[in-house]
Structures are given as structure tokens and as C-alpha cells.
Amino acid sequence: MGSTGEDLGRRDLIKRSAALGLITVPTMSFLSACASGGDESTKGPDKAPVTKENPFGVAKGGKLDVMVFKGGFGDDYAKAWEAAFDKKWGTTSSHMGTQEITAKLQPRLNGGNPPDVVDDSGAQQIKLDVLAKAGQLADLTAVLDSPSLDDPTKKVRDTLVDGAYEQGLQGGKFVVLKYVYAVFGFWYSGKLFKEKGWTPPKTWDEFLAVCAKAKEAGIGGLAHQGKYPYYINVVIMDLIAKKGGLDAMKAIDNLEPNAFEGNPAALAAVEAVYEVVEKGLLMPGTNGLTHTESQTAWNQYKAAFIPSGSWLENEQLKQTPEDFDMKFLPMPLLADSKLPFEAIRAGVDEPFIVPEKAANKAGAMEFLRSMMSREWSTIFAQQANSLTVVKDGVDPSVKLRPGTQSAVEALKAAGSNTFSYRYPDWYSEMDNEIQNASNELMAQRIQPKEWIKRAQAAVDKAAKDPNAKNNKRS
């Protein structure tokens, strides 16, 4: 029996079809996602007349479709908001809390029937620069210009904390309302430091000294979330901003040709971080750990410091010992720094957007306006143990945990000395490449000079992005 002749061998047939079928398996699962729906329905609900109380003309009894990221903050706050919204406007809200934002949101964007309000957050968020380039983000300037619910003589714009407006810009338009206010720096255990008699360091040399003492005591100095170099980049970038001043930071965001290369502050910052590695002051193995693994090790007193944002306390609630006494520390200073020790990166996060093709855009805008009220902000602080971008938006009766409390105090001490980077939101690829370089640096596979070279190459590449001319800050 051969495979010639009209009689195709039974075995051959089965074998070939099995092979064919299998070929399709690896590629198909990704590519079937390509299938995009074509029709764009522009059915909108009825509109009510625009009044002072109803600046967007929300019609009573409409529908509101809300999708939120159900991560460290849960989604109970959103349910409470929706209930309040429905009560006031007679709407019926449909709620979806999910961790798989991309999987749930992408097909709806492509199909032209997106939700009305989206909290596009978490590990599976759709990057904001990507959404902006695809023209999917509605301009939210109208929300900023509408009267505040708490005090109609004020505009919503005036109730935002400093920096929140700038961090919502894409290509010069305000399209993202980032709702959570977070500070970034090092974290340590108040209990451990008290026990060992260490004082929280204010300069990088003091920081290295504490790390060295920790090493002598048999624990690691610095832990970082090695598998996610995002966190060690916080350290590098904040050192650059504090040493070189705000201009050094803006040079990076504005993709200047000397953002890293030939910038002495940048080199000094990278060398400072590298010193930790060279002196063996990293917690052993930290370079390969995930964020939860390294944070938990830190909670078990295996390291003195860890870098993170103020969501850390919430994220680690279950792993943190009762008497851990979590404390926040602003990034210690390098010699001749332009910004004071108190200066901190204060960022906003948890981006809320309204898709350009949302069916109930008016309702969505009103929803965002309500989020900026004191009532809703307090709901969030209570349910999620976190600050919001609403100025003085949390009722003083809400009791905060020690970590969050120390972050609030640091924020007060910083006053107007806060700063934040934009490039991770504006240029995903550049961010990714710098993260890779940092990973190599921490593993001692490249030297600081090589890091600078790679980071500058990433900047130069991003400068070719057509959006680069709109994403400027001053």
C-alpha cells in the first residue's frame, strides 16, 4: 500500500488533517481576536435640556454602562456610586467588575458599542496612548468646566489636586480622569527600624549605610520587584528628578536628545542605584521575584527597604504582620540635589475614561462629575483605603492605616514639591525598553554607562512617534 493512487491512505488522511488542525492552534487564538465588527451605530438616548444642575443634559431613566477594574481597590465603591447615580437620575446602571479589561473592552471598542464609563486599570489595561491614538477617548474638558457639585461657584477643574490635570493629557487633550492619588518612594517597617535602632535615611549615603547595617544583621538591604522593573525605575527616575531638578525630568518626558546621554544627573542616579548592586546590598534573589513575592519577603523582615506606590499597604494587607508599622520614605537625596528631601513623586492612577463612541456620553460625563464630589470621594476612601484626586475630598472621620497615614504626612511635608513623569503614559515602547535596561543593570549584566546609552536610544526612537509633537510639557 502506498500513498499513490486515488485511495488516500486512511492513516495519511488522519495524520495530515491532524497536523493541519494543529498548525492553526497556536496562531488562531490570538488572531481570531482580529475580527472586528464594522457597523457603527449612533443610537443615543434622548437628551434633556441643559441646565445648571444638569450641565450635560442627562435624560431621566436612561441606561448607564459601567466597567471597572476589580483589583486592589475591589469594586464595591463603584457599586455604591452606581446606586447613588441611579437614585438621582432614575437610570439603570449595568455594572461589570473585572480584571480582564483588555479582553472585555477591546471587542466592544472594535465593535463600536463600548461601555459609557471605564476604569481602564490593572495589569491588563489597554494602554492610554494606544487608545488615544485610535481616537477612542472622549474629550473630558467639558467635565472640568462644569460646576462642582459641592460648590456650584467653583468649577470641577478647581477641585482637582495639583498635577492631576496634566496627567490626564494625551496629545494635549484632557481625556483621562485618574482618580487615585498615590505617592511613590521607599517603604520600611517602623517596628524593624525601632528594634535595630536605625534612623530613616535622608541622603543616599545614609541609605547605603542602613542597607549595609541590614546586611550585617543578616537581612537584605533593598528588595525590589525584580520581575517587574517598573518599580526599580521609580527609584532611578526619582533620583534623576531630585538631583537634576524638574528640568531633568521634563527633558525625559519631552524626549530631548540629551535626556539621558550627557546628563550628569542621570548618570549619577544610575550609578547610585548600581552601587547598591555592586556592594551586594540587594536582598538575595530579588531580581527574579514577582511583586507579591518580594513584597511578602519584605513583610517577613527579609529586607529593609522596598520601592512602591502608596497602594502597597492595601495590596499587602493579608501578608503584613499586625505590628509591622508600615512607613513611607521619600527618595533619599544624592549630593547636590536641586529638589529638597521632602519632594516626592505624587502620581495619580486608576484612569477613568469615556469612550468616544459611548452610547450615553452625557450620563458618563455626569458620572465623572459626581466622582469629583466630596460624597463620592469619601465613599471611595472608605471602601478602598486610599486618597482620591478630589482636593480635601475625604471626610476627616475616615480612619487611615499607618502606611497611608504616613504617606499623607509626607505629602503635607512636600507641599508644592511634588513631581511626576508622563513618559510611561505617553510612550509605552520607550518605557518598556528602559525597564529592560534596568533589569539588566540590576543583574549586573550592564554598567551604568550602557544603561544611559540604551535609555537614550529608547528616547530617540520614541521621538519619531507622530504624537511626540503634541505630548509636550513645560
Binding site: 500500500m1 486515488e6 495524520k15 491532524a18 497536523a19 494543529l22 498548525i23 492553526t24 492552534v25 497556536p26 496562531t27 488562531m28 490570538f30 488572531l31 481570531s32 481576536a33 482580529c34 475580527a35 472586528s36 465588527g37 464594522g38 483588555t102 477591546q106 471598542l109 472594535n110 465593535g111 463600536g112 489597554i126 494602554k127 496612548d129 494606544v130 487608545l131 491614538k133 485610535a134 481616537g135 477612542q136 525584580g226 520581575k227 517587574y228 522593573p229 551586594g280 536582598m283 538575595p284 534573589g285 530579588t286 531580581n287 527574579g288 521575584l289 513575592e293 519577603a297 509605552s428 515602547e429 518598556n432 525597564q435 529592560n436 535596561a437 533589569n439 539588566e440 543583574a443 549584566r445
Partner: protein
Amino acid sequence: MSHVAQGRRKGGFIASFLIAPLALYLTFVIWPYVQTFGYSFTNWTGQSPTFDFVGLENYSALLEDEVFRGALWHNLLLVVFVPVITILLALFFAFMVNAGGRGGAGGVQGVGGSRVYKIVYFFPQVLSLAILAVLFGAIYRSDEGGLLNGFLTKMGLISPEHPVEWLNEPNFVLWCLLFVVVWHGVGFYLVLFSAAMQSVPKDIYEAALLDGAGRAQTFFRVTLPLLWDSVQTSAVYLGIAAMDMFVLVSTMTSGQFGGGPDHHSEVMSTVLMRNFLYFGKSGYACAMGVVMLVLTMILSLITLRATRRERIEF
């Protein structure tokens, strides 16, 4: 009735059974491919239904994409090593549990306890890849809490100060992943080869035994030639699995959709996903998908051709 007409009628008869599956196949497999092919000529962002036609731009960009080229190289390495190692191990074990035993009046049989071995070997196949990723994540964990590092520390081979960061070592990471795939696959192919071996008539083995053939001779002269069909199919299957690797790489290694450290474990599917979703370059990612498809088909054809032999009937 002419020969041709007879063939045609037979074909029509078979086809009538296949209409429903064929329709499903066309809709859910072939049509997405056609779409992918179409999208690969556009600058589609993946987040909106609008895009422009850019011709071959994506493909020419692909040629210069060092990350993708690196990924392609890794895939090719895996395509060589995954099937070879898995099949050799599976064949060896299958032979041992089926025909490796010697002596006794019963003639050909497996080594002692072969039934138990068969079940134990099959265990890994029961686990899903996602569970495997977690399991091996704990084994390769980079501090001394990891199973491997803990073991090596206890043995005094490495100091607890400098544990091996298995998945963060450019020279190890791909082999660590390869090990997982092989560990996972051997059991299944062992069972597959066992089944094939059991269908080989006992008298052939007995004849070989009587002629004084040793284990090695029995294996190379009798078992392997009779199993060639199964080996060939397995090679194609494993080759295709090696072209994919998405689940393991994306969950076990660092970076968006894996591929770290610094692209040293990158495979085509992870580069594809990162461009498709994270960077919003879906048109470009579709071009990668097309390249992946073409390469997989070529490799399958080569494997089937290269391993073609005269079939031995029994």
C-alpha cells in the same frame, strides 16, 4: 463505471458528512486567517475599527525588528530540541516498560513494575500548562525559597547570598523552559508509543529474542522501524508546540507577555502579543502572525518529508 467517476462519487459521499464541520472550520479557522492576512497590510491599532492600508510596510519593518528575529531564532532552537529530546526519552521509557524486561518464560515483557511507571509518567500530562507555570515558578524561584535553589543551598553548592536566578539568567532561561515542556510531554508520548508497541505482534519480538538479539538490537531493528509512523506524527505535533510556547513564556518570564530577561526567552507569539495589545500595533502583529503560520506549515512539511520512509507492514 469509469475509475474517475467512481472516485468522485465517493468524494461527494464523504463530503456530505463533512459539510457542518467544514462550515465551522471555514468560519472560525480559515476566515480569521484571511482577516489576519488582510490586517497585516494595514496600520490597524487593534482598538478601533478604523485603519489605513500601508502595503508591505509591516513586513519590511519585520525584517529589521531585532526582537522578532531573536524570537524566531529561539523558536527554531526549540523546534529542534523539543521534539528530539521528548521523543528520545519517550521512546526509551516506552521500550523499557513494554519490552525492556528480560528472562522469564513469558518471553517479552516490560521491566518490573512497568504498570506503575506508565501511570506515573502520565501524571504531568494531566496538569494544565497554567498549573505547570505556577509549579515550575516555585521550583525556579530566584531566592532560596525556590526548590532548586533550596536544594543546591542545602547541598552547599551555592551560597544563600547568591542564589541562581534561573529565569533571570540569559543563558539558562530558554533551557529552563525547554525542560518544562519536555517534562510535560514525555508522559504523553510514552503512552502513545506504548500503545503502538503493544500492537506489534509478540512473535516478532520472540523471534528476535530467539535469534539472540539484545535490548539495543531489538529496539533499533524491531521496535523503532515499526513505530516510525507514530514517531513522525509526534515530531510534527511537538514541533508545532515548540512554535507556540506562549503560555509558559508569558507567565514564567519577566516583561509584558514574558520574553525576559532582555528578550532572551522571547518567542514569536510573545512578541506578537506585546505588539498586538500593549503597543497598539495590531497590523504589525498580524504580519507576525502570517509569518508564524507560513513557518509552521513549512516546518511541518519538512518534518513529514524528511522522516518519510518505506512503511513496514505487519
